[in-house]
Amino acid sequence: MERAGPPSVHALGLAASGAALLCASFVVPLGMFDCPLRAETGIACPTCGCTRAFHWFVRGDFGAALHASPLGTLLALLCLAHAVWTLLRLLGLPYAPRLPKPTRALRYSAGFAILLNWVYVALS
């Protein structure tokens, strides 16, 4: 955590986009649809299930969201956390989270986590 001034234009833009995605997931019944590729071929892509994860996340069913895609659930959580934090910073909170430097170890770990998510989604 570090002291910070008001949020930058990019922090505001990303927060607005994240909030809009969460709102859209609430309004549009995305959970109804299966991935057309998977339905037709049985092959899952690395981001398969992310749309359904957002759908279940905004409805508070975190179990179903995690089952659909752990990666999608994490992204939805990041969208919510960033939107809420940016709102708090707009209201005067003088702190911002210190982001870790993208070291080689962190990059490889993230790549491995995405691979694990893919294996999980493909097998589930």
Binding site: S8, H10, A16, S17, L21, P36, L37, E40, T47, R104
Partner: protein
């Protein structure tokens, strides 16, 4: 001891629109983006995020709105196409209720709100699209170690790469050509703004499409095969 001279770029014509004028700044930026992209991206200032966002949202929303209005003018053709499609789709297909609702909606004249709502939502949709595109490109660049100058550099590349989306105003093929041009320009922009190799820039931009959006391509093939099966059954 050598002193390194760091010169800040002068800014793109759009970033200097106070001195050039709004229209002239926009036109020069469009010309450079479409014809001299390296020159444009080299002159982009990373501390002008709000100006870059303004350019991208303005260009995308104005031309998308024109495209939507033209789409309304040609909606009669959509009706005929939907009716033709319904002849080929089996009655128990999951697409049938959607097609019926499209046909019903087209038969009744649009209310003013129904017509204006998509137009009013265009700037918000553009903003979400621009940040989503920049965030995904930046995450991939981070993952493969190609983010040398942070998110503002990725954002500058993605924002000015929206210039070809002016083609959204051209009915039918305009949006497709604009989207393909956007991908190419984003690659050029990433190379210049992050000062990375062509391979690194291409990987940053294309990897999301290869990993995720190839689903669209494969889904199109799947849809085409389904349609071919249905047509074969006729």
């Amino acid at each position: 001891m050598q002193a390194e001279l760091i010169t800040e770029p002068a800014g793109t014509p759009w970033e200097r629109r106070d001195e050039l004028g709004l229209l002239s700044g926009w036109l020069q930026t469009m010309r450079q983006a479409l014809l001299e992209p390296v020159k444009l991206f080299s002159s982009a200032r990373l501390d002008r995020g709000s100006a870059q966002l303004g350019f991208a949202v303005l260009t995308t929303s104005v031309f998308s709105a024109i495209g939507q209005l033209l789409g309304l003018l040609f909606s009669g053709n959509d009706q005929a196409w939907t009716q033709q499609l319904m002849q080929y789709v089996p009655a128990d297909s999951p697409f049938m209720p959607y097609l019926r609702s499209q046909l019903d909606a087209g038969r009744h004249p649009h209310s003013l709100l129904r017509t204006l709502l998509p137009l009013l939502a265009t700037p918000l949709v553009s903003l979400v699209f621009i940040y989503l595109n920049a965030a995904v490109t930046h995450l991939v660049a981070l993952l493969i170690g190609q983010s040398k100058r942070g998110f503002p550099a990725t954002f500058a590349a993605c924002a000015y790469a929206c210039a070809p989306l002016a083609l959204c105003a051209v009915p039918a093929c305009g949006a497709v050509i604009g989207a393909l041009w956007l991908i190419v320009l984003t690659g050029v922009g990433m190379k210049v703004t992050h000062k990375i190799t062509s391979g690194g820039a291409a990987a940053s931009v294309l990897m999301p499409y290869v990993l995720c959006c190839c689903v669209g391509g494969l889904a199109s093939i799947a849809l085409a095969s389904t349609l071919a099966k249905m047509l074969g059954a006729q």
